[in-house]
């Protein structure tokens, strides 16, 4: 494998996927969950036969709750989404549902719009903070290396890679939101932040190797591209295995784990795969391209 000769092939996949993700976000956008937008979510299970969605909606209409979205779940359950309900409105809706058969309420969540908005703001700040902390951390870790690539450039490349890693799962959820109504909630944001924290790890390992190889005596005389090639080859098994161990656990969580963390584990799986790919085939090649471009 020769990185410097095959640069353009490595960039094709992440570039295509990133464009697709941006397009999905632009066209479909993300569906915010109630914890970010405010609203109520109710899950009910009918002990006997489950009534039709239309029946529920017809009976809910006189309650004037605005749009009532009813989504079947499992075999006998419904998930009902509305605007943020007051306690009284919640009771009225429950009474109506109870009129259609024996029903138990599995869960009810209501979030006021102020709290939702606030969490959304916090999410943006948290993402910005993680990115900032990462740049600082990398710049610090690589402060000793300034030739032939300045240490801050490692930081910038790492950030570009990270953005790619969170862009892909976000794009996926824009598509899932459109096709199956998947919502992004605060757990989704937690997953994105976790991806940032884990994925930077792989990138650091490779950069670390480049740093080590650059400072070794036998590196003199070899060009930067060659050193990058060598570093990738030395770390690729390690990068893939460490990601694989995490992915094994996440796949188990996705298929066997609680319903509440299904979307969360899916986001993480996609982010981890993207992160592993990008740390090997995006981060280091970008460094090479940058350095080449500057030389000319």
């Amino acid at each position: 494998m020769n990185i410097s000769k095959n640069l353009k092939y490595f960039f094709i996949l992440p570039a295509l996927l990133s464009v697709a993700a941006v397009a999905a976000l632009a066209v479909w956008g993300l569906k915010p969950g109630i914890d970010l937008s405010g609203g109520s979510l109710m899950q009910v299970t009918y002990n006997g036969e489950r009534p039709l969605v239309a029946q529920i909606q017809a009976l809910a209409k006189p309650l004037e709750l605005g749009e009532v979205r009813v989504q079947p779940a499992d075999e006998a359950s419904y998930i009902i989404r509305t605007k943020a309900l007051s306690n009284e409105e919640h009771n009225n809706l429950l009474t109506v549902l109870g009129g259609l058969g024996s029903v138990t309420e599995d869960q009810f969540t209501t979030v006021g719009p102020i709290i939702g908005q606030e969490l959304l703001q916090k999410a943006w700040i948290a993402i910005a903070l993680v990115v900032l902390a990462t740049i600082l951390f990398i710049a610090f870790a690589f402060r000793g290396v300034s030739k032939p690539v300045a240490s801050w450039k490692y930081g910038v490349v790492a950030i570009v890679t990270l953005l790619h890693d969170i862009l892909l799962p976000t794009g996926l959820f824009a598509a899932l939101g459109y096709f199956v109504g998947a919502e992004v909630d605060s757990l989704f944001i937690v997953a994105l932040l976790t991806i940032l924290g884990i994925s930077i790890n792989d990138t650091i390992v490779i950069f670390d190797r480049i740093r080590e190889n650059l400072t070794r005596g036998d590196a003199s005389g070899k060009n930067f591209e060659h050193i990058v090639d060598m570093s990738i080859r030395q770390t690729i098994t390690r990068s893939v295995t460490t990601s694989l161990t995490v992915i094994i656990m996440l796949v188990a969580l996705y298929f066997l784990g609680p319903e509440a963390t299904k979307n969360f584990s899916l986001t993480l799986i996609v982010g981890m795969v993207a992160g592993t790919y990008s740390s090997i085939f995006l981060a280091s090649p970008l460094l090479v391209v940058w350095q080449r471009w500057q030389k000319n």
Binding site: D106, A126, V130, S186, L187, N201, V205, D208, I248, P258
Partner: protein
């Protein structure tokens, strides 16, 4: 060699002790049982916003503490297991309105919960209308509403209540409740008493008539004595209710979350299955790929799991669905250090080092990379902890703890075991065991 083997046995004994501790304390409901969050145990979480506009900034901390106490007292009266009341500041930067988070495990009737938390014991002073002095209560002892007129003097003006003993005119020492008004209340009380000397002033607690003494004179010192044939116990309780009773700040329900017990049970079961199956799959992969270092990694990973579970019990960490996910994820991350070490070990062996030296070198050289990646994880965990709401905070906490504990188990436990096995790089078997992957070079 002897010392290393000695230590590896110590580690195994400690691990067994931790395992015994986990085994004997789980499912007992005792102090060291796992604490499950509302989304796993079933229960209700209520978030209230507080209206602080009418409180002077200097008095705010006291008012918030008082509010916290009042709500805590009411919540404790529910008699459910370990309710939780937290005051937190909202706003994206934590500078917004103050909020009260109330968690009620086991309570799934939101209506009842909301009603009892919002309930305000009311102290009210009312004047008895002229001519109605003998028409205060009906046959059942209930106050007749038409006989009274409001004065505007209520428990909101209360600064404190205290228990005293006095002779209610009978010569016998009786427990009475002394009420001290704040300056505003004292003024109002003075105005009412001076304008109505000779009339009856009825004192109501929670809408119930306690007593209706005659106003003898203008009262300017802002204190009132309520003597209502209390027993000492009743008087004490009244004092406590008055002191803690009225909400010092108005609150409004902002959000609620209720999870039924069966949904929570299902989530716990699913989380457990996912964790066990994931662990087994991970162990198989590690042993097949990394052979002996892989096996050592699995043993140290198992010790990691035991230690984490014990820490969950000791701190205690409240486990939520997000926290369980964090723990499962952390197991995958915890072998990270072992992988780094195994890869380094291979390189050191290839460079012609002796087995014991290769292991020591491998650990030493992998340390920098392990440290860097863990710092990145800890940064993420801290920011996540700040961002998350209470049910998700568990994820950040478990994730952060996992990073620290796994670093410990990977570099101490794995290292000790690897060295204790006394591998020989010269023997064929020894080389085979220490290498990894599909090739044997």
């Amino acid at each position: 060699m002897f010392a290393i083997r000695y230590w590896s046995i110590v580690i195994l004994v400690v691990a067994a002790a931790v395992g015994f501790f986990l085994w004997t304390t789980t499912g007992t409901g005792g102090r060291f049982d796992f604490k499950l969050g509302l989304d796993l145990s079933g229960g209700t979480q209520l978030v209230y916003s507080t209206d602080t506009s009418k409180v002077a900034p200097a008095d705010l901390p006291d008012a918030l503490v008082a509010l916290h106490q009042v709500i805590e007292r009411r919540v404790n009266a529910f008699g459910v297991g370990e309710p939780l009341v937290q005051t937190e500041q909202g706003g994206a930067l934590g500078t917004g309105e103050y909020r009260l988070v109330v968690e009620l495990p086991g309570v799934t009737d939101v209506n009842e919960a909301v009603r009892r938390i919002g309930e305000t014991p009311q102290l009210e002073f009312m004047l008895v209308r002229a001519g109605q002095e003998n028409n205060l209560v009906d046959a059942e002892g209930n106050a007749i509403a038409d006989s009274y007129e409001t004065t505007g003097l209520t428990g909101t003006y209360l600064s404190k209540a205290s228990l005293q003993f006095g002779n209610g005119g009978t010569g016998v020492q009786m427990p009475v409740v002394r009420v001290d008004f704040n300056s505003e209340g004292a003024e109002l009380f003075g105005t009412i008493t001076s304008a109505n000397v000779g009339r009856l002033l009825a004192i109501f607690l929670d809408g119930k008539l306690i007593s209706a003494p005659v106003i003898q004179d203008r009262i300017t010192d802002g204190t009132a004595i309520i003597s209502g044939n209390f027993t000492a116990e009743q008087a004490r309780e009244t004092v406590r209710n008055l002191n803690l009773g009225a909400l010092p700040l108005p609150i409004a329900l902002q959000s609620t979350q209720t999870v039924g017990a069966s949904l929570g049970e299902e989530a716990v079961r699913a989380g457990l299955v996912a964790g066990i199956v994931g662990f087994i799959a991970l162990a198989v992969f590690m042993i097949l790929w990394y052979r002996l270092p892989g096996l050592v990694a699995v043993v140290s990973l198992f010790i990691y799991v035991l230690l984490m579970l014990a820490i969950f019990k000791l701190i205690p960490v409240v486990l939520t669905a997000a926290g369980l996910a964090g723990f499962i994820l952390s197991i995958g991350l915890a072998v990270d250090a072992n992988v780094l070490i195994a890869e380094r070990l291979k390189e050191e062996l290839a460079a012609g080092k002796k087995a014991q030296d290769a292991i020591r070198e491998g650990f030493a050289r992998a340390w920098l990379a392990i440290r860097d990646s863990n710092i990145a994880h800890i940064i993420a965990a801290v920011i996540l902890f700040w961002f998350a709401t209470s049910l998700i905070k568990g994820f950040a906490l478990v994730f952060g703890l996992g990073v620290v504990v796994s670093m410990l188990t990977a570099i101490t436990v794995s290292r000790t075991f690897m060295l204790a096995l006394g591998l020989n790089e010269k023997s064929k078997l020894g080389r085979f065991l220490m290498l990894s992957g599909l090739r044997n070079k």
